[in-house]
């Protein structure tokens, strides 16, 4: 049973100020004598026996008919063709069956349910197949633990999987994203605080430009750093240049997300803090930011996940080394997405397997970040 939360009736006036009759639903707790009875969920049958029979029967008929069509009548005998034909036939059969039994709006309803569920299933299959496929193809290479403990220096493209690994790429990714986070987060959150807490016409300009720059394609961010830092200022390809490219890409994204999160902090909290005599800085530090912390963490972590997986800025700026390098200023420093890209493009079967192993490691990193984000976001609902 749904109870409406507001405890006072909404003002019985419309925009013109004229009183209008309104229905007012009281909450369960307000009703006299109802406080002691625990609200019981009324059983709501969602599908009748007939509905189930129609669904299951249509499914069986569609599968059988699709088999006849694909494997006996027309040359469409592939698993994909079979699935598509079966689904289309299912839609047709379920429509006809429903129209025969319960004509009227129920036909469109049944058809819409089937289409919506089918579309959602396609999305689910796509996601699951992506993750499973990456891990399955990574299997042979991940079986060798050297993949996590060695780098690729002196390892040829046709050397067996037992030698060499992607340690250098893992370290490179972590160093680059670490620098990018250190650069980006204070700037992004500071900007968001400026846009929401200070405001004014200048803040509107900043907000417009920041929102515009979220449209910057990541490859153009990489090209910008490549032109300015590498060609004009004479830096060589390094982890530092790569992290700058990632920062340029991530800064508007995180700033905008943080802005959205800070904007929904209730202004009543802010006003209460200011009315108690706190300075604006203390209000931001002790009220606004803690209130928005789960949202900020989610925004940040999703931004970082985006940055970790982004290949194109790194492709232009970091250089693909094969050896271990932890100093971001020293020279070329590989990273996981770049390693995956290079090894897959090489066309060597063994190198492609290593590429998939690196992709699996990358996916695990992103999954870990993602779980952390979920966990932090849940902290809000627990309060």
């Amino acid at each position: 049973m749904t109870t409406l939360t507001p405890a006072t009736p909404p003002p019985a006036q419309d925009l013109q100020g004229a009183p209008v009759p309104r229905t007012w639903v009281r909450t369960v707790e307000d009703l006299p004598g109802r406080g002691t009875i625990p609200p019981q969920r009324r059983p709501r049958p969602t599908a009748t026996f007939q509905d189930r029979v129609v669904s299951l029967g249509s499914m069986a008929a569609a599968l059988a008919l699709a088999w006849a069509v694909c494997f006996r009548l027309l040359p469409w005998g592939t698993p994909l063709g079979y699935t598509i034909v079966a689904f289309v036939l299912f839609l047709a059969i379920v429509t006809v069956a429903t129209a025969l039994l319960t004509p009227g709006p129920a036909v469109a309803d049944r058809l819409a349910s089937a289409v919506v569920a089918g579309g959602a299933a396609v999305v689910g299959v796509a996601l699951v197949s992506t993750v499973v496929f990456t891990f399955v193809r990574a299997g042979p290479a991940v079986g060798h633990l050297t993949i996590l403990t060695q780098d690729m220096s002196g390892v040829g493209p046709r050397d067996p999987l037992g030698t060499g690994g992607v340690l250098h790429a893992i370290v490179g990714t972590l160093v680059q994203i670490g620098i990018a986070v250190v650069v980006t987060v204070p700037l992004a959150i500071g900007t968001a605080v400026f846009m929401t807490e200070v405001g004014g016409s200048f803040a509107r300009v900043v907000r417009t430009v920041v929102e515009a720059m979220t449209a910057l394609p990541s490859i153009v961010a990489g090209l910008f750093i490549y032109t300015v830092l590498l060609l004009s200022l004479g830096f060589h390809r390094s982890g530092f240049a790569a992290s700058m490219a990632l920062s340029v890409m991530m800064l508007p994204i995180i700033a905008r997300a943080a802005d959205v999160v800070l904007r929904v902090v209730p202004s009543g909290l802010r006003e209460a803090s200011l009315a108690l005599g706190a300075s604006r800085w203390r209000t931001v530090w002790h009220v606004v930011l803690p209130t928005a912390r789960p949202g900020l963490a989610t925004a940040l972590i999703l931004g970082v996940a985006r940055g970790i997986g982004e290949t194109s800025p790194v492709l232009l700026t970091s250089g693909a080394s094969t050896f271990f390098e932890a100093n971001p200023f020293a020279g070329a420093m590989n990273s996981l997405p770049l390693f995956v890209f290079d090894s897959v493009r090489s066309g060597e079967p063994l190198l492609i397997q290593r590429g998939f192993a690196a992709a699996a490691v990358l996916l695990v990193l992103v999954l870990g970040l993602f779980v952390a984000a979920r966990w932090l976001a849940r902290a809000r609902s627990g309060r």
Partner: protein, 341 residues
């Protein structure tokens, strides 16, 4: 009416005993001023950094545009050696890939969003929401691998099917015989179609989460009203949820279109570059702006780099236009209500 009455009241009170308005000081003092200055400084820094990129791109494209003029937009070839540099075919390729991605992603995102917000039971809803968010976090290179290794064989089969049965449509045409005993699979691979499929998986979660967000904000009273009047679930969706969420649907789609236009790595992995001015998504070979930059930056001289930056700038402007339109549409929809105590 009530406003007028109140104004008269104040007027009457003011005429009997004129109260002096309390003097309010708007000056900020002490730490407040430091805070405002510091925040403004950070804002200015970010403005300089981000705005600087835009200005830099614009400034860098001046020499190219003055050298080639409007030919830059009508020339199809990108061969700096023969001094033929233009982005006509590249822009068409970019639009083709993005269009394929949207044609696939839009219905799937809409259906998935509807399923999550309207059909899924409360128990699995949060899991499904997490799955869509996870899909957004999966790196684009992994979708590239998925598209290249897993999807491409199936996609070329679908492309051949479309060519066989709908080849009379000009945009399904492929320059080969689909009914040959040994069909030429290589003519159907590495195409804008396959790249668009991979890109669609990248942009789908973005569109889906925007749509789901808007659908979940559809007013409960109107939903219950529709159901109480005897609407089926689909009737309620069609008469309440979809009209309410129209702004979010359009806005979310355009946001993901903006992302699809700039996608690089999956496209580079899948397509084989070609500079033909054609709109045949199923056929092998295409080129997008971002793939062009990724492929050509290495051996580019100063003038070629300027040309690449110009191409990037044009891409940025297109993306910016799309995103701005999306933001306007989303903010004009009914669902822009803020949160407040």
């Amino acid at each position: 009416m009530s406003t007028q009455l109140r104004a008269e009241d104040t007027h009457a009170a003011a005429s009997s005993a004129p109260p002096l308005p309390r003097r309010l000081s708007g000056r900020t003092t002490g730490s407040d001023r430091v805070f405002v200055l510091g925040a403004r400084g950070i804002g200015a820094t970010v403005l300089v950094i981000t705005g600087g990129i835009g200005l830099f791109l614009a400034w860098q494209s001046v020499p190219t545009l003055s050298r080639y003029g409007l030919d830059f937009f009508s020339e199809t070839q990108w061969s700096p050696d023969t001094d033929q540099v233009g982005i006509a075919s590249v822009l068409l390729g970019t639009v083709t890939v993005a269009l394929v991605a949207m044609v696939v992603a839009f219905p799937l995102a809409l259906l998935a969003a509807l399923f999550i917000s309207e059909y899924a039971s409360a128990r699995i809803k949060s899991t499904l929401v997490s799955m869509v968010d996870l899909m957004a976090a999966v790196p684009s290179i992994i979708y590239g691998l998925w598209g290249f290794f897993l999807l491409q064989p199936y996609a070329s089969g679908v492309a051949r099917w479309l060519h066989t049965y709908a080849g009379w449509l000009p945009f399904f045409h492929v320059d080969t015989d689909p009914t040959a005993a040994q069909w030429e699979q290589s003519r159907y691979t590495a195409s804008a179609f396959v790249a668009g499929l991979a890109v669609s998986m990248m942009v789908l979660p973005m569109a889906c989460s925007v749509m789901r967000e808007v659908f979940s904000q559809a007013p409960l009273g109107e939903r219950e009203g529709a159901l109480a009047l005897g609407a089926t679930r689909w009737g309620m969706i069609r008469s309440v949820v979809l009209p309410f969420g129209r702004g979010g649907i359009i806005g979310g789609t355009m946001l993901s279109l903006g992302r699809a236009l700039g996608e690089t790595i999956a496209v580079v992995l899948i397509i084989s570059p070609s500079f033909d001015l054609k709109f045949r998504p199923l056929e092998v070979g295409t080129e997008t702006v971002s793939a062009l930059i990724a492929g050509r930056f290495g051996e580019a001289s100063a003038s070629q780099l300027s040309a690449l930056l110009t191409a990037g700038f044009v891409l940025f402007l297109i993306t910016l236009l799309v995103n701005t339109l999306a933001a306007v549409i989303v903010s004009r929809s009914r669902s822009g209500a803020g949160t407040d105590i």
